[in-house]
């Protein structure tokens, strides 16, 4: 009898444990969004920029809760590595060795508590760099640490 009691106690305990799993799951599981579909968004897939000019980066970032930070990265794609998150393929130059390619890195914190943010960033494209195919990477996080990524192919002439 004692054994039966023990067995049923064990089962009751387990049931209790299971039913206890609190389900107040108000946690954020949504990714932030990088929107480059706006009329003035730049660059977009296959954009072209001339050396010596300023590249004005424009994009709209949104999130369901709060945005975190974004980072921009321009690096050469002279070897034509795959990167692009976009569908359309741009025309590319022939593969070549890098001599003095442009390297640009920038990371920007978005003011706290914003659900929507229009990012603008001026980027100098120096005259004395290698022209050719480049990648433009946009990384965006929200406050909780979810990250979205966009990889664009651009050409510097």
């Amino acid at each position: 009898m004692r054994k039966k009691l023990l067995l049923s106690t064990a089962f009751a305990l387990t049931l209790f444990t299971f039913s206890c799993s609190s389900d107040n799951e108000n946690i954020d599981t949504e990714y932030p969004v990088i929107d480059i579909s706006g009329a003035d968004a730049f660059p977009i897939q296959c954009s072209e920029i001339t050396r010596g000019q300023k590249l004005i980066f424009k994009a709209r970032f949104t999130d369901n809760a709060a945005l975190g930070s974004y980072s921009l990265d321009i690096h050469h794609n002279f070897d034509h590595h795959t990167h692009s998150t976009e569908v359309s393929n741009c025309s590319t130059d022939a593969n070549k060795q890098a001599v003095k390619p442009l390297l640009y890195l920038k990371s920007v914190n978005i003011p706290e508590g914003l659900k929507s943010y229009d990012a603008v960033q001026e980027i100098d494209i120096p005259v004395h760099i290698d022209p050719g195919d480049y990648h433009f990477l946009i990384k965006l996080t929200d406050k909780e640490g979810w990250q979205s990524l966009k990889g664009l192919s651009i050409k510097i002439k």
């Binding site: 054994k3 023990l6 067995l7 064990a10 089962f11 305990l13 387990t14 444990t17 299971f18 799993s21 609190s22 107040n24 799951e25 108000n26 946690i27 599981t29 945005l67 975190g68 930070s69 974004y70 980072s71 921009l72 990265d73 690096h75 050469h76 070897d79 590595h81 795959t82 990167h83 692009s84 998150t85 060795q97 890098a98 390619p101 390297l103 890195l105 920038k106 990371s107 914190n109 990477l137 990384k139 996080t141 929200d142 406050k143 909780e144 640490g145 979810w146 990250q147 990524l149 966009k150 990889g151």
Partner: protein, 805 residues
């Protein structure tokens, strides 16, 4: 217990007596024991012609009524050779002679094994544990040891590719689970998800999996559990023989095998093994994969560049006598395996699909090479009441990751010619570990006491052009006492205390390339320090207390205890990009040792035809070390990638495993193995979120049919259906994983060629080639489905060159 035994004996003799006095009585009864006479409980005894079967009771006794026809009876018990004895009709109504079972393995070490080892061990240990033997591994053979053990509820893996995996016990892995081989802690690169466990699964004869904090046994790191690979049993006296294993797998066209040779005269023995394996790219039921937002086409379902090879050597040799034993273990495990080419590196650059797809057996970059060398000596001797044991060991783990140089951050676009590392050597880890332990076991009245101490020193060097973790030295030592008290026959108490001290010295690391640093609007080039020289010391005091209550059919256990884990170098001082994840990992030199409080409960009920086992647990961490994905991006060390920072948070974990067995007929058994786990962070940046790699609930239902076929022995056919629930409780950067339904078919048999039993087993894993995702797979983040249908054939051929007479 004593009373019940006497009572049963009395009953038994009464029946026996009745038998003699009553000619109408049609009973058959007897006793099943091990070769040394210890009764075996729950052995299956079957009358072969009628198929009627019963289980032996806790005293090894069995009893059949109304037997009219009989030719023979058969006894089976897991871990032992099944045995058949012929019974004549004239014997009906009598007590048959004791049936002694012989262990399946070469010979079991007398001191360790008596009775049903697994059963006895489970009943005496108040922590929840599972023990499996070599035959279980052969039955469920997967790509690596841990994959072969995944059927056990509460045990999962974090796998990368088809040949390597790490243990995941109740959702904890990496440095929270200790792997022990031949009594010594295995020291590889436990911290990373991208490298497996350097263990040759053919060389494993028995594994014990402890599902709970076992810090008091194994020190730091055993906070989540332990995989204890027990030493192989010694060869029989004057035996000289061996085994040949052969395995073939269809999915990754793997061929592999192992050759074992052993011998022993009276006191000296050797036991050697060589294992080789070669496999091609594995196949998944999909023709394209999404790798971080871009689509990768797969050629003929092959996961590009996941081929690999392995070559292992082992030797054990030594001197054995009743009072003194000294055994050396030497082993070298070497593997080379490719990473899925499109998912490695900061940018999966230079993936020449055509080149990769021209052969599915070649291993191109990126790939890893791992060599693990071990040498150890275990010496034990008996003085009066004391059994003393010393262990001394050395290990070297040498791991290299090869990948084409890709500049990122401020690295120069062209690799400098005068660099210290070859251009394609991304990372190199070289770890030397010395271990020493000593213990004394003795009995004091009802107390069985073990006192021991151990020490370990580590030297870790790094190489390659990539940087994640600095070089470091580490020293750990611990002192423990364990007391097992037999209160009554069916009550037992386990108590343990342990004190640990550890120290880590992290070494400075400076970038080999300059970065552009902006100070007061002036841009200067600087060589950045990624790690500074620093040292931390930790100490911890742990305890554990538990009870076991085993009154016959019921087995009850409870345990409460603490565990701890010293922060590792990666958590304290990592400062670089993890190329597998596109993320920047930043250590935290101020971390406290992780602490854990766990309550474990276990209840088992075993009847003749069914058994049920339930093992719930509750666990609380005041300061779980957690790699938190932040909202930040880092410019310098992180090359513009998202920052993941080590932090500590309060964590609650609880869950249970449930195992049910029911025998429908003597040759038909059903099993239900289920597990459930819930984890939640109670504080910190991810309050309310779960922990990463939380395995979803799952239920495995298996039906086993054991047909009697002429000339075959121990034939089985098992169909397993595993339902894995969806996992919607995630934490960045994880993705929700849908539920899955997977079927496996397992079959095997033994047949005699000459005097030897040849063991043949067949498996069809993922029978319906189901496309499903595994939440705890390394490649889950890139939406990679699990391995498609896989046929596995494995044969074990024992041979003996000479046997004792």
């Amino acid at each position: 217990m004593q009373l019940t035994y006497k009572f049963q004996l009395l009953l038994f003799f009464l029946f026996g007596f009745v038998t003699l006095t009553n000619a109408q009585n049609n009973t058959i009864s007897g006793k099943v024991t091990t070769y040394d006479g210890t009764p075996l409980a729950a052995a299956i005894v079957t009358i072969t012609n009628s198929g009627k079967s019963v289980l032996t009771n806790s005293n090894g006794l069995y009893f059949f009524e109304n037997v009219t026809e009989i030719k023979s009876i058969k006894v089976t018990f897991s871990g032992y050779e099944s045995t058949k004895i012929t019974v004549s009709k004239a014997q009906i109504g009598t007590v048959l002679p004791d049936i002694k079972l012989v262990p399946e393995m070469k010979e079991l070490e007398e001191v360790v094994i008596s009775g049903s080892y697994a059963d006895k061990r489970k009943k005496e240990e108040s922590l929840n544990l599972e023990i499996v033997s070599q035959s279980y591994i052969q039955r469920n053979l997967g790509g690596s040891l841990m994959q072969s053990l995944q059927r056990i509820p509460g045990v999962k893996t974090i796998s990368i590719g088809s040949g390597s995996s790490k243990p995941l016990i109740r959702g904890l892995s990496f440095n929270q689970v200790v792997v022990v081989e031949n009594g010594l802690k295995h020291e590889g690169q436990q911290w990373g998800a991208d490298h497996g466990l350097e263990i040759d699964q053919y060389n494993v004869s028995r594994v014990e999996i402890i599902k709970g904090p076992s810090s008091f046994m194994f020190g730091s790191d055993a906070i989540g559990g332990a995989v204890n690979i027990l030493p192989a049993p010694l060869p029989k006296l004057h035996a000289f023989g061996g085994n040949i294993d052969f395995t073939g797998k269809s999915n990754n066209a793997q061929i592999g095998g192992s050759f074992n040779l052993y011998g022993r005269n009276h006191n000296w023995f050797f036991d050697s093994r060589i294992t080789a394996m070669d496999y091609a790219d594995y196949r998944v039921p999909t023709d394209k994969v999404q790798v971080y937002n871009f689509t990768v086409p797969l050629y003929k379902n092959h996961l590009r560049n996941t081929a690999g090879q392995e070559l292992d050597f082992h030797t054990s040799t030594g001197y054995v006598s009743d009072k003194f034993k000294s055994i050396f273990h030497i082993s070298n495990v070497n593997s080379k395996s490719g990473f899925f080419a499109n998912a490695h590196g900061l940018e999966p650059r230079n993936v020449d699909n055509e080149l990769h797809d021209s052969s599915n057996r070649d291993i191109l970059m990126p790939y890893q090479q791992v060599n693990h060398f071990k040498i150890s000596n275990t010496t034990s001797f008996k003085i009066h009441n004391h059994k003393l044991e010393t262990k001394l060991g050395f290990q070297n783990n040498f791991r290299r990751e090869w990948s084409q140089y890709v500049n990122h951050g401020y690295m120069p676009p062209i690799y400098p010619e005068d660099m210290y590392a070859p251009e394609n050597l991304e990372r190199q880890y070289d770890k030397n570990t010395f271990l020493f332990s000593v213990k004394d076991e003795f009995e004091l009245g009802r107390h069985q006491i073990t006192i021991g101490a151990n020490a370990e020193t580590q030297e870790n060097k790094i190489g390659g052009w990539g940087f994640l973790i600095p070089a470091f030295n580490q020293f750990n030592t611990g002192l423990f006492v364990h007391d097992k008290v037999q209160l009554k026959d069916d009550w037992m108490i386990n108590g343990a205390l342990r004190f640990d001290y550890g120290k880590i010295n992290v070494k400075q690391y400076t970038d080999w390339f300059p970065s552009e640093v902006e100070i007061d609007d002036q841009i200067t080039e600087q060589y950045l320090d990624r790690a500074e020289n620093f040292s931390r010391a930790f100490s911890s005091f742990n305890w554990s207390i538990g009870t076991n209550y085993n009154p016959g059919k019921l087995a009850l256990k409870t345990n409460v205890g603490t565990g701890f884990r010293m922060p590792i170098a990666k958590e304290l001082a990592s400062n670089g990009v993890n190329y597998h994840y596109y993320r920047y990992e930043r250590g935290n030199p101020d971390l406290d040792p992780e602490r854990s409080y766990q309550f474990d409960f276990g209840i088992e009920w075993k009847e003749q035809k069914w058994s049920v086992e339930l093992t719930p647990f509750y666990n609380y961490f005041p300061n779980y070390i957690y790699l938190n994905p932040t909202a930040e991006h880092d410019l310098y060390y992180g090359a513009g990638n998202q920052v993941f920072k080590y932090e500590q948070s309060e964590v609650n974990r609880y869950g249970t495993e449930l195992q049910l067995r029911y025998q429908f007929a003597y040759n038909l058994t059903a099993e239900v193995l289920a597990e459930y786990l819930y984890t939640v962070q109670l504080s910190g940046a991810k309050e309310g979120y779960t922990l990463p790699f939380s395995p979803p609930a799952s239920v495995l239902t298996g039906i086993t049919y054991n047909p009697e076929i002429k000339n075959l022995k121990d034939t089985y056919l098992t169909l397993d259906y595993r339902y894995t629930a969806e996992q919607n409780r995630i934490v960045p950067p994880e993705k929700m994983t849908p539920a899955s339904h997977v079927f496996n078919l397992v079959a095997g048999t033994k047949f005699k060629v000459g005097k030897e039993d040849i063991n043949l087993s067949l498996q069809v894993q993922n029978l319906f080639n189901t496309r499903y995702l595994n939440h705890t797979s390394f490649y889950r983040l890139i939406e990679l489905p699990e391995t498609g249908r896989n046929f596995i054939v494995s044969v074990k051929i024992p041979f003996s060159i000479s046997k004792s007479n």
